[in-house]
């Protein structure tokens, strides 16, 4: 509710509600503290202004209420950590879905675009090698690798089917970028020299914008991509229409 | 008006100012070198098992390193003796011991620069098939199609025989001659190694053993370079104490002794850093 009021954007992923729920709880907690202290603050300022209270009290507050309040804050924070924060993150990094049950893609970020590769019919990616990089072959795909023949490469526009988790193997060619889809409640840095897996499960069809969430140079602000969640049928149609990268139609040959 | 405790200790802390200051300063130095040691560990753990970036073991000359370690440890003792002489009010002995300390520092830096020099004349030629041939080489050993090499070759990237970046960009290399190192296991003199000729088109990269060569050399030069700067700094201070700074002994012997003690503490720290550096870079 408070999130709504603050203008949170719609959620489109399965793990999103848990995150939103936690944010909601933290916001309520903050609001309570804020209102409590503000009320105290204003009341004190009015009551103890010089004209009203010409003589200060050497001792001041003697009750231990503030200590109790602080302990309560500590307890609430501990609950938030143990009951929400740890399990949520644990789920994120430890409970990867099986690759066979998921849409698996490889994303290679570069200044200032998202290269998205699908493994194609054989469900396996072809080799990539830095030494093969050239202007015609920006990702250094190995043309001799059979597994790569049916790979599909697209730029900036990523399609995934509804009803299946998505696993992304994220890396970068040049500098650090960050793959961020706010509606999917998902952000992950793309760090050159590393391949980092991430996953989420869309629960809505539609077009969602991919933003880059790490300063990567002057085009950072427009390093925009689209994540399009299709119904499974639409997705198959789209996939069929894509020419495999290895056959010369994908632009990365 | 005068700042108190510059000479005599404050009762409750038992310290005079500069001593507090130097300990704090050394704490920050520990963090500085600590960060570099952490970098060393990280680079080493991440280094590949094979290929040119493989962590080289026992690449440095251990006897020389050991000797240099000895020189520094010895200077650590002499600097204490210098200070002790002052405490015993023996200025002449102080001059001797401090003089020896300074000479030791000089010797250390001399040996170190000799080691550096050897690294800078030692090259690795990376071939396109992934092998690396290492050995000593001079500018004349690189034969260009046109003209000759006039500047020091540190790090050249070569594509199809043509240098593709840096100051020599565009030069075409015909071939290079390199006297390869003795294969591991043989003594240095044993192998009468002949210069080998490598065609330009087979080369991917020519680099001397400078910091650009690999992460090992990067951290080696950074650590030892920073350490050398510290040695140099310590020597400047020691030389001041030995020379013009001695004046203070006649007006304020206690304060002068304190100063020497502080300089000595710094010198010990510099030694201590080396005592970590030596095994880490030479032995492990």
């Amino acid at each position: 509710m408070i999130n709504k009021y603050l203008g949170i954007i719609e959620n489109a992923s399965k793990h999103g509600p848990a995150i939103d729920g936690m944010l909601e709880a933290v916001h309520w907690f903050m609001l309570a503290l804020f209102i409590g202290w503000t009320a105290f603050f204003i009341y004190t300022l009015l009551r103890f202004r010089r004209s009203k209270s010409p003589k200060a009290d050497y001792v001041g507050v003697t009750s231990h209420n503030s200590t109790y309040a602080e302990i309560l804050v500590g307890i609430i924070e501990a609950i938030l950590l143990i009951c929400f924060a740890f399990p949520l993150w644990g789920k994120q990094v430890n409970e990867f879905p099986q690759e066979k049950d998921a849409t698996v893609v490889r994303i290679i970020a570069e200044q200032f675009a998202w290269n998205i590769r699908y493994p194609g019919a054989d469900a396996e990616f072809g080799k990539q090698d830095i030494n093969l990089v050239s202007s015609e072959n920006p990702l250094g795909c190995d043309p001799n690798d059979a597994k790569g023949k049916d790979d599909i490469a697209v730029l900036n526009e990523m399609h995934v089917p509804l009803g299946k988790p998505v696993i992304i193997f994220l890396s970068s060619k040049d500098v650090i970028h960050s793959f961020c889809v706010r509606q999917m409640r998902m952000t992950q840095d793309a760090i050159p020299g590393m391949v980092i897996p991430l996953w989420f499960e869309p629960i809505k069809t539609g077009k969602f914008e991919i933003a880059c969430a790490q300063l990567c140079g002057m085009g950072h602000y427009k390093m925009r991509g689209l994540l399009i969640v299709d119904s499974p049928a639409d997705y198959d149609k789209w996939l069929k229409a894509q020419a495999p990268a290895g056959s010369g139609g994908g632009g990365y040959d | 008006m005068d700042i108190p405790y510059t000479v005599l200790p404050r009762k409750d802390t038992g310290l005079w100012n500069a001593k507090v200051g130097i300990w704090l300063f050394l704490a920050s130095e520990v963090m500085l070198f600590g960060a570099l040691f952490s970098t060393y560990i990280l680079l080493r753990v991440n280094s590949p098992e094979t290929g040119a970036l493989k962590w080289p073991h026992h690449l440095l000359n251990v006897p020389i390193g050991t000797f240099n370690t000895g020189v520094l440890i010895f200077s650590s003792i002499t600097v204490i003796l210098a200070w002790a002489s002052l405490v015993l009010k023996n200025l002449k002995a102080f001059k001797w011991w401090m003089g020896i300390t300074i000479l030791c520092g000089l010797a250390f830096l001399g040996i170190k620069s000799r080691e550096y020099y050897q690294k800078f004349t030692h090259y690795g030629v990376f071939l396109r098939d992934g092998t690396v041939i290492t050995g000593h080489m001079k500018n004349e050993d690189v034969k260009l199609k046109e003209g000759e090499v006039t500047r020091y070759i540190s790090n050249l990237q070569v594509v199809n025989g043509v240098v593709n970046a840096g100051p020599m960009k565009g030069s075409e290399i015909e071939h290079v001659m390199i006297a390869p190192d003795a294969p591991a296991g043989h003594g240095h003199e044993a192998a009468e190694h002949k210069a080998e000729k490598i065609e330009g088109k087979d080369i991917a990269r020519i680099a001397s053993y400078g910091p650009w060569y690999s992460p090992y050399f990067a951290i080696y030069f950074t650590l030892t370079g920073l350490h050398a700067i510290h040695v140099f700094g310590g020597m400047v201070v020691n030389t001041f104490m030995w020379g013009p700074g001695t004046k203070m002994y006649f007006t304020n012997p206690q304060r002068f002794t304190n100063r020497v003690e502080v300089a000595g503490l710094f010198w010990h720290f510099v030694d201590l850093v080396w005592i970590f550096l030596f095994p880490v870079l030479y032995l492990l």
Binding site: Y58, V93 | R10, L42, L43
Partner: protein, 603 residues
């Protein structure tokens, strides 16, 4: 520093008098104000340098705010001025950056990076640590000067050189550093010359802080006046003490990192560059084998303690001002002291909360989430103690007090909004959004800056013997208070809607941002209005040096020892060596005739 041997134990009271007469040879202007070693003069040097850079950093930001409010529109007047100034310094640079007054993306990034860098390292640190630390700490502990006056001067001049280098970097080919104040590699590794100058500048600034830290800690340990025991130190001194340790221990790793990035840029190493980089379509020529994350670890190992460097001195100032203007002791002095020590310690083990999105395993994430949440507890205690101190007071609403009171809720908002960010899972949503920008600006701008303003108004009479104008001070406060909230409050909403930071066009490209980007105009208006409200302050500040109301040595009727010195304090500070007989905040002691009992008063 050229002391002769004295018996330090006696602390003969007539000693100060004697020395005073010896010193009365006139120093030339040059030695008095330029290569000064007196802590008060150095404090002033820091103050002016810090304020000028603060203003400069603010100007950079106002230019950025134009671009954010009106993306791609030429900036009136200023745009062309900047363009020609840049062109004059470096041919073509102005056309690259500000052609026809329209800001280029690269220039926007430069402004952002330099705004962050300048505000933090050349604005707030010199003010909070350099200026207030230098001027106030020796006076508050009853010392004649800092422990190492010449190192103190060296520290200032190192800062000065660093500042010049940073400033000059705007005028080199390619412009100033543009990889964010965080300068992440590899982006910073492949950036233009400006980045090299940034690194060189940083090394000077770091050196300055290290020298300063050694000096401050030694001074506080060694030069406390007789009777000034640890538990009688004003809280401000404690705050500076902890700040000193943060700088001393957290900065060297960044210095090491800076040296390594410099090596990457100049010596061809690849500490932070992995193998297989492809930059602008070509395989890069470096050996590879390094790690981009290493830079982040080293940077944030400083970066997080650094934010407490920004806030602790401000908290210290606020505590002094509140005690003085409520006319009662600070509530829970001991818990304040222990909290600040605990905070200082903990701030070394939370740094990776800035790196949640780099791909962190469960164990590491658990550790850093826990420490980050724990570190909020001492902050809560400090804030609570300050709030509760108001209860039972007799509150005077003068300008310093207004700023101090303003600090409390502003820091509160900033601190509270740090909480959601502390949780790794929530950061999936909020990372790198304007929510983060709003979070930390609430702590550093209406937080720290208000604390600093409070300090300036509070100690002005000590430094000059005159008061600043109260009425204009109030205008300054209320104007700043309203505008600051006008700037940063809407940013929370932008952040919640997913608007990213460091976006040159403020989010125009993105559909999801359309609902909130119109507020950019209001934010920018607020920022410019904020600038207008600084004008009375600047005039007041300079005008009062000559024309302010003359006041006695202790116009606020405060208790701490600096008020026992003459205003302005002479070289050597005190007429008689002060001694502390009681705690720092003995206001309204029952049975005493006056409502304040100075620390140095015998009975």
């Amino acid at each position: 520093m050229e002391a002769t041997v004295h018996d330090q134990h006696g602390h003969a009271t007539d000693h100060a008098h004697d020395a005073h007469h010896e010193e009365h040879k006139e120093l030339s202007f040059f030695w008095k104000y330029i290569f000064a070693t007196d802590h008060k003069v150095i404090g002033m040097q820091y103050l002016f340098t810090g304020l000028i850079f603060l203003l400069f950093g603010f100007c950079l930001m106002m230019m950025m705010r134009w671009q954010l409010a009106y993306p791609g529109k030429p900036m009136p007047v200023v745009g062309n001025l900047v363009c020609s100034a840049l062109n004059m310094a470096c041919k073509g640079l102005g056309d690259e950056s500000m052609q026809g007054g329209v800001m280029s993306p690269a220039f926007y990034n430069s402004l952002g990076a330099m705004h962050g860098t300048i505000m933090i390292f050349l604005g707030v640190v010199p003010l909070a640590f350099g200026a207030f630390g230098n001027f106030v700490v020796p006076l508050q502990i009853g010392a004649v000067d800092m422990a190492f006056p010449r190192i103190n001067a060296a520290s200032y001049w190192s800062l000065f050189v660093g500042g010049i280098v940073m400033f000059v970097s705007f005028f080199v080919p390619g412009g100033a550093a543009s990889s964010g104040w965080t300068s992440y590699s590899p982006l910073a590794g492949i950036a233009t010359t400006g980045q090299t100058l940034w690194l060189v500048g940083m090394i000077f600034l770091i050196t300055s802080s290290l020298l300063g830290a050694v000096n401050f800690i030694t001074t506080i340990i060694q030069l406390r006046a007789p009777g000034m025991t640890w538990m009688r130190l004003p809280f401000f001194v404690w705050a500076q003490f902890v700040t000193g340790f943060l700088l001393l221990l957290a900065f060297p790793p960044l210095e090491a990192a800076g040296v390594m990035q410099l090596m990457d840029r100049l010596a061809g190493t690849s500490f932070f560059l992995p193998s297989g980089l492809v930059v602008t379509g070509m395989p890069s020529v470096v050996s590879g084998g390094g790690s981009p994350l290493l830079w982040q670890h080293l940077f944030w190992f400083l970066g997080h303690p650094e934010v407490y460097v920004l806030i602790l001195p401000a908290m210290g100032i606020v505590c002094e001002v509140i005690a003085c203007n409520t006319r009662k002791p600070i509530w829970g002095y001991r818990s304040l002291v222990f909290s600040v020590l605990f905070l200082g310690f903990l701030s070394f083990v939370v740094w990776a909360h800035h790196m949640y999105m780099t791909g962190m395993g469960q164990k590491i994430s658990t550790f850093f989430q826990t420490t980050t949440v724990i570190i909020s507890v001492p902050s809560v205690i400090i804030l609570s103690a300050l709030f509760i101190s108001l209860w039972g007071g007799s509150i005077r609403f003068n300008t310093p007090m207004l700023f101090a009171l303003g600090f409390l809720p502003m820091f509160g908002i900033g601190g509270l909004t740090g909480l959601p960010l502390a949780f790794n899972a929530i950061d999936l949503y909020l990372h790198d959004s304007y929510y983060v920008i709003a979070h930390f600006h609430y702590v550093v701008a209406p937080g720290t800056l208000f604390g600093l303003f409070a300090g300036i108004y509070h100690w002005y009479p000590k430094a000059t013997g005159r008061m600043m104008n109260e009425c204009w001070g109030k205008v300054h406060f209320w104007g700043s208070f309203v505008c600051m909230n006008g700037i940063f409050m809407p940013m929370f909403l932008q952040g919640m809607a997913g608007v990213g930071r460091r976006w040159y066009d403020g989010g125009q490209t993105y559909e999801f941002a359309q609902g909130v980007i119109h507020s950019n105009v209001g934010i920018s208006m607020s920022a410019w209005a904020l600038a207008l409200f600084q004008i009375p302050f600047i005039i007041n500040f300079f005008w009062s040096i000559r024309h302010g109301k003359k006041v006695s040595d202790n116009p606020w009727e405060a208790t701490t020892i600096e008020w026992a010195a003459p205003s302005p304090p002479p070289h050597g500070n005190f007429v008689e060596t002060p001694e502390a007989y009681r705690g720092p905040y003995e206001y309204s002691v029952p049975g005493h005739p006056k409502d304040f009992t100075p620390q140095s008063q015998t009975a």
